[in-house]
């Protein structure tokens, strides 16, 4: 294709005043697709057509709000253009409508559930909002279960998710800004933020990042997440399926990115410490919320380091273990054919296989899988002497611990495996150095010019009221800390 042809191809094609020409073009574009529907009719002697995509529209609305009013109106003696203007201005007054002059935008609207009214002799079409498509009803969140708080979770359609947020924040400062990803799927995304809280610097940078995304298709929020966060071990963009969590985050100056067709909303910027803050913390009593927060941190470290430390102690530093425990480990070890490291890796991988199977298996088979996995394999492995009971116990404990902070599961699973190897090969030294490497990786990252490890390091004492402890709302309400004001932040102030 020559450069001239390419340039011509990039120029948006205008709608012609000939109805036939327009219909030929559209038919060619859809190439006989079964859901592409053209209903042709006459309006007082002028040829007209209503173009829709099947199953995305409400036929009753079309009949009642478009076709009936047009048929009942008196448009005699008017040209095609005049008829269209009359319909637009005086007949279809109650429906959502927009004038289309280019095929590019027309096609996007058409595939979003709009009906296109075309009249011969008129060089534009009228897009009329008649969307109606099947979608999953609002249900309880499956991944972010809370004891106190709303039972609503996001659904797939963007507009419903927007409404769910708006219902919780009745302020005109809440802004939803629509953007579109440059892809075949032309997925709509929506930025949601509070105008008076958000940092313009972060917003500009985020928009810039989104505008650069070029993907063939965007089927989930996970597709765009890598483009809006920095590359690193830990997530720089949070994910939530709860509207109340998202509202809480945007009130602290963060930006929510809602992707059409996905029930998870991305939150940026997202700091490391936020992985340990859940919605329940803010609904529970402060002393209990503080306790659970510490528990989460402890469980996180346990799930990463316990197997590695166990392997290191058993292999290189038995003196670190209390004598009674050491005796048990040695006894179990004497009866198994593999080294501690191999045992741990084996059990860990078996557990991950079972977990993956449990996620994908059809629900009726779920119980069978857990019985076979948990009881048969576990019991049989110990009975046959392939694996020692302490090893099984350690992996089971870490597996459960890793679900205490579900947002860090991916990192935990991989790091745990790495630390088993390090513990088996380099002992305590290796584990300590591995820990230092993780710390460096965590501390070197910045998300939208905010240190990922803030407010722990760089440290700010005032921020500890919602980090080390969860202070009472009487204290927290006094000054909501904005994300751009975190210590060490290089975000330009307003």
């Amino acid at each position: 294709m020559s450069r001239q042809e390419k340039q011509q191809d990039n120029v948006p094609r205008k709608i012609s005043s000939s109805l036939l020409e327009n219909l030929v073009y559209l038919r060619k574009e859809f190439d006989g697709s079964m859901d592409f529907i053209i209903r042709q009719f006459n309006i007082e002697g002028t040829k007209a057509a209503l173009i829709t995509i099947d199953n995305l529209i409400d036929k009753q609305t079309i009949a009642q709000s478009i076709l009936n009013p047009i048929r009942k109106s008196n448009l005699k003696g008017l040209s095609g253009m005049e008829k269209m203007k009359e319909i637009r201005d005086n007949i279809l007054t109650t429906v959502d409508q927009e004038q289309m002059v280019e095929f590019d935008t027309l096609l996007t609207k058409l595939m979003s559930g709009f009906a296109m009214l075309a009249i011969d002799g008129c060089d534009f079409m009228l897009s009329i909002g008649v969307q109606s498509y099947a979608y999953r009803s609002i249900s309880e969140p499956s991944n972010e279960v809370v004891q106190r708080g709303s039972r609503e979770s996001f659904v797939e359609p963007l507009v419903i998710n927007i409404a769910m947020i708006r219902r919780r924040m009745k302020t005109p400062k809440l802004k939803f800004e629509r953007m579109q990803i440059q892809s075949e799927s032309k997925t709509d995304i929506c930025l949601c933020y509070l105008r008076d809280k958000v940092s313009p610097d972060i917003l500009k940078q985020l928009k810039n990042n989104i505008s650069k995304i070029k993907l063939e298709t965007v089927m989930a929020s996970g597709y765009i997440a890598p483009f809006i966060e920095r590359r690193g071990l830990f997530n720089g963009a949070g994910v939530s399926e709860r509207p109340d969590t998202v509202c809480g985050k945007i009130s602290e100056g963060r930006i929510a990115v809602i992707v059409d067709g996905t029930p998870n909303v991305l939150i940026v910027p997202y700091l490391f410490i936020e992985n340990f803050q859940t919605f329940d913390d803010y609904a529970a009593r402060p002393f209990f919320a503080t306790f659970t927060r510490w528990l989460k941190v402890f469980a996180f470290f346990l799930s990463i380091f316990l197997p590695g430390f166990y392997v290191a102690c058993g292999t290189f530093h038995p003196e670190f273990l209390p004598q009674v425990l050491l005796t048990k480990v040695v006894q179990a070890q004497a009866e198994t054919p593999f080294s501690l490291m191999i045992e741990c890796v084996m059990i860990h991988i078996i557990y991950e296989i079972l977990r993956e199977a449990g996620l994908r298996v059809p629900k009726p088979l779920g119980h069978a899988v857990s019985i076979v996995g948990g009881l048969v394999i576990g019991e049989a492995a110990v009975q046959s002497g392939l694996v020692g009971p302490p090893t099984l116990m350690v992996i089971a404990l870490t597996a459960i611990s890793s679900y205490v902070v579900p947002s860090l599961y991916e990192q935990t699973a991989i790091l745990r495996l790495i630390f088993i190897f390090i513990g088996g090969m380099m002992g305590f030294w290796g584990i300590t150095l591995g820990f230092c490497a993780i710390l460096i990786s965590l501390c070197s990252e910045s998300i939208y010019k905010i240190p990922f490890s803030a407010p722990l390091s760089p440290f700010r004492l005032r921020s500890m009221r919602d980090v080390v402890i969860r202070a009472s709302w009487k204290v927290l309400r006094k000054d909501v800390e904005q994300i751009q004001n975190m210590p060490g932040s290089n975000v330009k102030k307003k």
Binding site: F316, F428, W429, L439, I440, C443, S444, P458
Partner: protein, 377 residues
Amino acid sequence: MSRKCLISAGQLFTLLLVSSLIIMVTTNSTWTGGGDFLDNTISCIIAFAVNFIAVIPLGLLYRRKPTMNILDYGYHLTGWFGVVIALFYGFYFLTIDCYYLSVFQVFNANMIEPEMPSWLIVIAVLIVAVYAAWKGIESISRTSVFILVMLLLGLIFILLTAVPQVKSENFKPILYNGWDQTIQSTMLFLGRSTGLATLAVLLPATKGNKKIGFTVWNVVTYLLMSVILIIMVGVLGNAIQIQMFPMHTLAATSGIGPFQRMDSIFLGIWLMGMFIKIALDLYLFGSCMQRIFHIRRGGIFIMGGAIAVAVISILITKSVTLQHLFFDVYLLAPLTLFASFVIPLVLLLIDTIKCKNKTIRRMEETLEVQNENSVLD
């Protein structure tokens, strides 16, 4: 030269505190020149006071031109000799790393006896330290905050569990055998502390109140060291004289409830502190090389420096002669004296003389102009 502030004063002195923790955990009767460890508490007080005096030239230099570090001053005041000063500082930081890594290897070989070779651990330490140095001073300083909290908690836990074992009869009169040990251990403490040299390079890249930071760092370092020394003497008594690493012995014999030994905590403290120290020194070495070669990133030099440290520290561990050279105070103390005090003092004097000459010249010129004007009148 304008310099971007990269870290806060709190972060800088946290870094220095973590680095100086290694001094506390690696002391023995051979290096301090005797087994009267209570005398070393006097050394702590002297070293504390000396630090306040030694920092004066550095402080004055910084006050004159807050955007210049010692390397910039070297170039500014001495021209080409600035290369020598930058080289000296670069190799000084590497020498200190060689010392710490070889002490660690000696400890590992004698006390822990791992099934893996010591050099493997050294290489692992250096790989992680190179990664940290490559990430930059901001990353190292942020990491040091986490590590400091863990180190302090670990150290306090060890000391608290050791306190019940303290016996009053283990304490002997201070300075019973004269001042020799006190002088040697003062030189050891000061010689192994790269704090002032680090300040000389990093001060312009720091924002915040450095005076308070410096005071807190000095007080906490030597206070903690004195407490450790006193508890060590109280628990170990005369046995301290035959211990290669008394702090490790103290940790290994301490315990409470199910925690029968504390040496794993001690090992963690040592390794994490050493990691920060080496990462910082490699970063500083990279900065020196950047200044000499006028390049933006010193990654290649950091890697080269790490390789040199690995080779030399392994050689030190294998050679008794080199051990004598490095582990005695006669190499480190003069080097530190030059890096921390002599070079800043000389630069300060040169700057003062140059300033004075400039003022005299300016006054002479003014006088000449006035004379010419009066003749014309």
